[in-house]
């Protein structure tokens, strides 16, 4: 049956201003992701990525504009929208004193998975991420890469339509980062999941990915990576950023 919802993430004309701030943290942000799409949200620190992330996840209330997750409006159908998204935060959110399995069971219960279904899904995700032998280890005993994998496995337990990653690879070594980025790309393709990948690391973006470049709360460039490179006649993203920086871009903190 064809998917009745064309966009799994639909952000439209989003504006946000923090109380007492002179300037808007986000101004007129729009982006859409279809099933199987990998959308990289790139920008230097302070560009507004985390604010956008908070609005999409409903952790902050919308002031202007709309956010829809697989057809469910985050403001009016918050619980439905939440049930359709999986989130991996920059800051680790696992319980260090509990085992891998206990952490996953807790999350499955929070998302309403019954005991039998939870057992099945946990076994599937542990196998997918090669974590089955570590299921009884406490999170404290795992290295950073394994902890990240547990967090991604956890985000997938309730079979979300949209996966959100907020600088999920920060602090990991290059090979582990690469593994995780590869894995998430495959996941999007195989499971027809939409992925919003927030990062300031250019090497995590593939040529076929859609990119939104965020700076000072505005989307200053949007399109597939290839399109953007062609339009701006840049050899690679590194050069593209250099061009944008030359146009007084605040790409100062983007890690190349």
């Amino acid at each position: 049956m064809p998917d009745p919802v064309p966009y799994l993430l639909d952000v439209s004309a989003l504006c946000y201003r923090y109380r007492g701030a002179d300037q808007a943290a986000l101004a007129d942000i729009s982006l859409r992701i279809e099933g199987g799409g990998f959308h990289a949200l790139l920008g230097p620190n302070g560009a507004g990525k985390t604010t956008l992330f908070s609005l999409i996840t409903g952790l902050s209330g919308l002031q202007q504009g709309s956010v829809s997750i697989a057809g469910a409006d985050i403001a009016r159908q918050r619980l439905t929208a939440l049930s359709r998204m999986g989130v991996v935060f920059q800051q680790p959110t696992l319980d260090l004193d509990l085992t891998v399995e206990q952490n996953l069971r807790y999350f499955a219960a929070l998302n309403g998975l019954g005991a039998k279904q939870a057992r099945r899904r946990i076994a599937e995700e542990l196998a997918r991420f090669d974590l089955t032998p570590r299921r009884r280890e406490r999170i404290r005993q795992l290295n950073g890469g394994h902890r990240r994998r547990v967090e991604i496995a956890r985000a997938l337990l309730h079979e979300p339509r949209l996966l959100l990653f907020d600088e999920a690879t920060v602090g990991l070594d290059v090979p582990t980062r690469q593994q995780i980025v590869d894995h998430v790309h495959r996941l999007a393709e195989e499971q027809n999941i939409a992925v919003l990948w927030t990062t300031h690391l250019i090497d995590e973006v593939y040529p076929g990915d859609t990119v939104s470049l965020l700076d000072r709360g505005r989307v200053v460039a949007q399109g597939t990576c290839r399109q953007l490179l062609q339009e701006r006649k840049a050899a690679d993203l590194k050069q593209l950023f250099a061009q944008l920086a030359a146009r007084d871009y605040a790409a100062r903190e983007v890690a190349l």
């Binding site: 935060f89 696992l94 807790y106 929070l110 019954g114």
Partner: protein, 258 residues
Amino acid sequence: MNGRHAYWTPFRGIVVRECLRFLQQHERFLAALVRPLVWLFVFAAGFRAALGVSIIPPYETYITYETYIVPGLVAMVQLFNGMQSSLSLIVDRELGSMRILMLAPTPRWFLLFSKLLAGAVVSVLQVYLFLVIAWFADIRLPLLGYVAVLPALMLSGVMLGSLGMLLSSAIRQLENFAGIMNFVIFPMFFLSSALYPIWKIGEASPLLEQICRLNPFTYVVEFIRFSLHLKLDGLSVVVVSASLALFLTLAVWRFQRN
């Protein structure tokens, strides 16, 4: 999610997590047990000779001082646990795991209430462990009292947890927590009927007696004391329930706002 899974499953998950955390944090487990036992076996033993407790309700005969302070120590276990739960809320908030809770597709008020109930369940486990040890030390209460006290323990556990949650919503940093606790735990405990009957405090200072009567923790202690002796103190039930409603409403409101 269907109706049963929408509420029951997240609730069960939160309770199981709190119990596992408590059992796996061995220092916390030990501290929760040792604290009231030190009061019972050291403090009470010393006070037995110095302080006579006359016959006051719900007791029908003279009792030892150890028997008198058992309900106060039970309430103390709950007070510390309530504050400990709020401490874990601050840690959860600082470490980010609070966001995982807040992103669950279940109403936030229900998630917070579940967290409070889970904290109360953990405190009940600690209380029964303490009562079992007291039993073996020959401090025995009416057998049915151990069952009759359960509703009082749950109600007061949630009430003290709500107070802790309210405090934690006002505390921005973990470092500030210890100081504020000193201004909450100790005054609440000492200015109550946990260690001495209120009339006895009144003999020393009528002002202190009035303060004790205004302290909701006094009514937690009395609610537990009467329930353990298969009696019901109406005033305590009303004060504990009203305090619960007030603290819970304020705590949920503050969390929603933040």
